[in-house]
Symmetry: C2
């Protein structure tokens, strides 16, 4: 951290639920000094509406509106729209809550009117009282496609409809080659006040790789003169939630912290791993911080965020 | 009625709430032998969604889903979407209920996918268990525009946002000149089983004139060899609900049943008026049936429908 007393800007890379928890911890400490770059590979059209699941999870988490029981969507939600949609015989495998619909309808309207996803999300964040900067990785469509034993599935069909059951053979990011990196990321990286870049404990293959697939993203990260730290999404070789471990197995990758470090390779200056994986730290070729990474409370989120920032400050000192 | 025992097909022309009540009465008697041609001049885009207020009122009324307290929308409705929309700072002057949204979202999706409004409404009616044939007057957009003392207002802005306060100078139907008449209307009129055409007690200027503005509509009505009967929307010179009386005054037309008869002119073979307007029947140059036209219950709707069909049968006999 710049000076140690006043926290500098932090860029967090983030997918959905797990990553958003650490983003929330960082937000509690950093407020407007936090820039969160969010995966849009899970975005899709459903019932004619433009849905951005990971961005909305971050918006809801940071604004305190997230539904903690479900792990997605809004708290205090009702489902009358969905019931009426099902009665019409329309698709209902992807559930949209009544309150949640406001973001989808308004996003769809504004995208059709020619506004960029970035502008729309900036306004949503403002309306919801979120002071952190939330950046879609790109305003151009990038679509995560899962090549499985049952054919090629768009991400939500694999994740929600098929509940991650099909065996994953390969993961592709349609549109990535032509997608333009969100220019605000360049500005955030060039900020002289930048202190650290944090890879949140999201699924590296499904949630962070889409960011890295956007041309220029990895280059921009390498250019940054601050510590880049990932928090492993594994605890004892398993994901807290979601299919990270299963997918690593199907892709022929051992589900351990070493594989996470190898995956991010030279993009990382340090890795935060859980106490349960302490034994693996000896096999890691980069600086490691061992701590409790499970975030079961607001305090837990903030505590892990503090650990990450402290680790970054330590690595920054070592650099100079 | 053809033969008197078995009711023939009836075509009803209808706008929103008031008209839909009589349509419901007719539906109870006629079932699938009822064709309802509905005003789409009130249709508009709101929050990026395609809204068809009069068609939905007819769908909800006939399927038993209508909200009788509000007089619009669905019964047992919730408003969580609207609250969330308002929190985003988006337009909230036109309220869309959570359950009601299903029709708007699915209609919007299908229109964008190239389906016609007629196909969509046919499928909606089927899903909601409505056996009557519900026809948009045209699949092409016709938009009722109100020229007022405060400028030109699209219908919903005048009706909902401004609560009919501005003085009406003129009413226009944008798009009408190029709109194609719903071809199913021609089929219904050519049905050898056709027994009557009923102008429901909707606002003649706001709800029925849009139908008549579609080229070929009046011609088709004149071609029909069955009695054409209107039910006056006035009771004692006033509308039960809505701005009919106010608008007639502003347009310089006396708010009485004579003016209603004059407005529809040679399209009518008979007029049904309320007991309260019995004194006016002497001034009317066409056959008149005097009855109680206020429909405060299901029984009242059915009773008025029976009166109308009986009047039509009487006029048909007189013709032959």
């Amino acid at each position: 951290m710049s000076g140690g007393s006043r926290p500098g800007r932090v860029i967090a890379l983030c997918g959905g639920v797990g990553g958003a928890k650490l983003a929330m911890g960082l937000y509690r400490i950093l407020g407007e000094k936090l820039t969160i770059v969010v995966n849009t590979g899970d975005d899709f059209e459903h019932l004619g509406l433009s849905i951005s699941p990971d961005i909305d999870t971050v918006l809801y988490t940071l604004s305190g509106l997230a539904n903690r029981e479900l792990g997605w969507g809004r708290a205090d939600e009702s489902w009358n729209f969905m019931d009426a949609v099902a009665a019409l015989g329309a698709e209902s495998w992807f559930r949209l809550g009544d309150r949640d619909l406001a973001l989808h309808v308004e996003r769809t309207r504004r995208l059709k009117a020619g506004h960029s996803l970035s502008e729309i999300i900036r306004d949503f964040a403002k309306s919801l009282g979120v002071k952190a900067e939330i950046l879609p990785m790109s305003d151009d469509p990038v679509r995560t496609m899962i090549v499985t034993s049952e054919g090629v599935l768009p991400f939500q069909r694999y994740f929600v409809e098929k509940r991650c059951a099909p065996k994953v053979e390969r993961i592709c990011f349609d549109g990535a080659a032509l997608a333009r990196l969100n220019p605000a990321l360049d500005r955030a990286i060039a900020d002289p006040d930048l202190a650290a870049i944090v890879f949140c404990p999201s699924n590296p293959f499904l949630s962070i790789d889409p960011l890295l697939s956007v041309p220029g993203f990895a280059v921009a990260l390498r250019r940054a003169r601050v510590p880049r730290i990932a928090v492993s999404p594994l605890i004892g070789g398993k994901a807290v939630k979601g299919p990270t471990g299963k997918i690593m197995g199907e892709l022929g990758i051992a589900a351990n912290t070493r594989a996470i470090a190898d995956h991010y390779a030279d993009l990382l200056d340090g890795l935060v791993i859980d106490e349960a994986d302490r034994a693996e730290s000896a096999s890691l070729a980069l600086p490691v911080r061992v701590t409790a990474t499970l975030m079961t409370s607001d305090e837990g989120r903030k505590r892990l965020a503090r650990d990450v920032l402290d680790f970054a400050a330590q690595l920054a000192v070592r650099r100079t």
